[in-house]
Amino acid sequence: MTAVLEVAGLKTHFFTHAGVVKAVDGVDFTVNKGEVMGLVGESGSGKSITGFSILGLIDQPGRIVEGSIRFNGDEIANAPEETLKSIRGNRISMIFQDPMMTLNPVLRIDSQMMEAIFAHEKVSKKVAWERSRHALGLVGIPSPEERLKAYPHQLSGGMRQRVSIAIAFLNKPDLIIADEPTTALDVTIQAQIIHEAQKLTRQTGTAMIWITHDLAVVAGLADRISVMYAGRIVEQGLTDDVIDRPLHPYTVGLLGSVPTANKRGERLFQIEGMTPNMLALPEGCAFAPRCRSASAACKAPPPITHIANRDIRCFNPQAQAAAE
């Protein structure tokens, strides 16, 4: 399998008045062609910042301080704006969380879609319109001709997210970064959108990074899962391995807190404590203060170890604990 994206040692820090926020602090992962990678973590764990770092859209006072991002073999971390602009929306595109907010309320759907084409290609209006219509059809929007003439407020949330997905696939990108694209939708629509995205990645061979805090979503969708905590990936492996036999105590906790039919009537597991303050991360393992298995060794930062077919940052990996 060929790698579309290789991220190594990525560090994105924000230099605020209160101190340095290490939003992303040494992240490594690879996404292969046609593969869906689930990037899971709670709010503030740095998953979205990882996505924006790849696109080079980190605003002041943040910047990529270290690491490499290789896209199709080319280094794009801190690449010149011109290079990044030609990649954005063309080779790597993005789907956002809130479909109510990501479409410009005053522009018609067709102008927003055609604009995405014109930004990267010189084609006639007719060709661009035809491609937009085709793209809307692909994401399962009925009578796309009429939808093209509509304004965003005339469409439902699910419909708008389909439009966003259509825009993301418009230029046949190699990679799509989906930043919690189903969080703002209700569950039935969520399932449809996931189905649609999955179908399209299979058809087009587009790789996808699916950022979410919902393990249940990626369990059925992703080929591989990376779990992020406080700016680092703490566990990374094939979806089945991670879901069935989580090793990192944090993953175990996350999985334990997902309601399932077997746990009916029982109290759900809860990870104690709060997300750490990103300005004052604990020494060593950032999860240690909330961890049940923490030991004296956890005072030092755990290195990446490769065990049981996955990469993990933990001194005390759990064994088979979460299944129960």
Binding site: Q60, G89, D98, G140, Q192
Partner: protein, 305 residues
């Protein structure tokens, strides 16, 4: 695809109210606003049609007879027509002079309003989008400008530049651009933080395109409101300058000049020379302001009941 039918209703063939229709209905909900709009339309029509509906061209000295000077309303002019609103000291038929004056006042107000809007809009957008030091410098200039009363700025400029329509317009633009810049910057800052701007950047669009095609159209509502109110302000500011004698020349009287001309006769009972142009000015400014107020109420979603 089976699931698509679940959530997408068949395109309705019912006639949908367009945003403009809704806007129109909401605007005319208020009787005061409707009246003001009606008055404004009449004033505009009178001003535009002035050469065809007045008995005299007050700018043509051949048609103005000094012997007709200071005649009370209803008198007959030497040329044979009735001066329904009387005449001023120079023998100008006041009805004609007021309509021609309205033309000048309104066109000066509109021209300066539009130019100031354009200048302020570009400056405000640049400030909001550039951020950092550029923004700080621009906004401090705006603050400095706004700390002087507009009338004072305009007065100083006209005193330095001299008389003439172009100079008046320039002075009004300088006095007013900052209001637009501040409004646009405030709105654009809010819009800039919205996700659609980020999404537009993710599409690889250029900065100018993001600013002018995505952010700007979303800032128009407050701009329209400020534009209306500032145009009314420009009209009265021009009248003020002309009244003080630094505005438009005597040969092409605007409303302010007419009021000033009649001022010396007020105490001798010849009220009409000042009062009628004054009423015309009052009606113009008040109707523009009322229309502006209603626009603000309709265009601002937070004011909706």
């Amino acid at each position: 695809m089976t699931d698509t039918t679940l959530q997408s209703p068949a395109p309705a063939k019912v006639k949908v109210e367009t945003p403009f229709q809704r806007f129109r209905a909401e605007f005319f909900e208020s009787r005061i606003a409707a009246t003001a709009f009606f008055v404004l339309v009449i004033i505009m029509a009178l001003a535009i049609l002035a050469p065809w509906i007045t008995p005299q061209n007050p700018y043509d000295l051949a048609q103005v007879d000094v012997l007709d000077g200071r005649l009370p309303p209803g008198s007959e002019a030497f040329a044979g027509y009735t001066m329904w609103l009387g005449s001023d000291g120079a023998g100008r038929d006041l009805y004609s002079a007021i309509l021609y004056g309205l033309r000048i006042s309104i066109s000066v107000g509109l021209a300066s309003g539009v130019i100031a809007l354009f200048v302020g809009m570009v400056v405000g957008l640049v400030a909001a989008y550039a951020g950092g030091r550029t923004e700080a410098v621009i906004m401090r200039v705006v603050d400095l400008q706004l700390s002087f009363p507009a009338a004072l700025v305009a007065l100083m400029l006209v005193a330095a530049l001299g008389k003439g329509i172009d100079k008046i317009i320039l002075a009004l633009v300088v006095a007013q651009w900052a209001y637009y810049a501040r409004t646009v910057r405030a709105t654009a800052l809010v819009e800039r933080g919205k996700e659609y701007v980020e999404a537009a950047q993710c599409l690889g669009l250029s900065k100018t395109r993001v600013v002018f095609r995505h952010i700007l159209p979303n800032c128009l509502a407050p701009l329209i409101v400020v534009g209306t109110v500032q145009t009314a302000h420009a009209v009265s500011l021009e009248a003020t300058l002309s009244f003080l004698g630094v505005g438009l020349p005597q040969t092409e009287p605007s409303l302010g000049v007419l009021i000033a001309n009649g001022f010396e006769y007020m105490l001798s009972g010849r009220y009409w020379i000042s009062v009628f142009p004054g009423i015309a000015l009052l009606l113009t400014v008040a109707s523009i302001n009322l229309v502006g107020d209603q626009l603000r109420d309709v265009l601002n979603p937070r004011m909706k009941k």
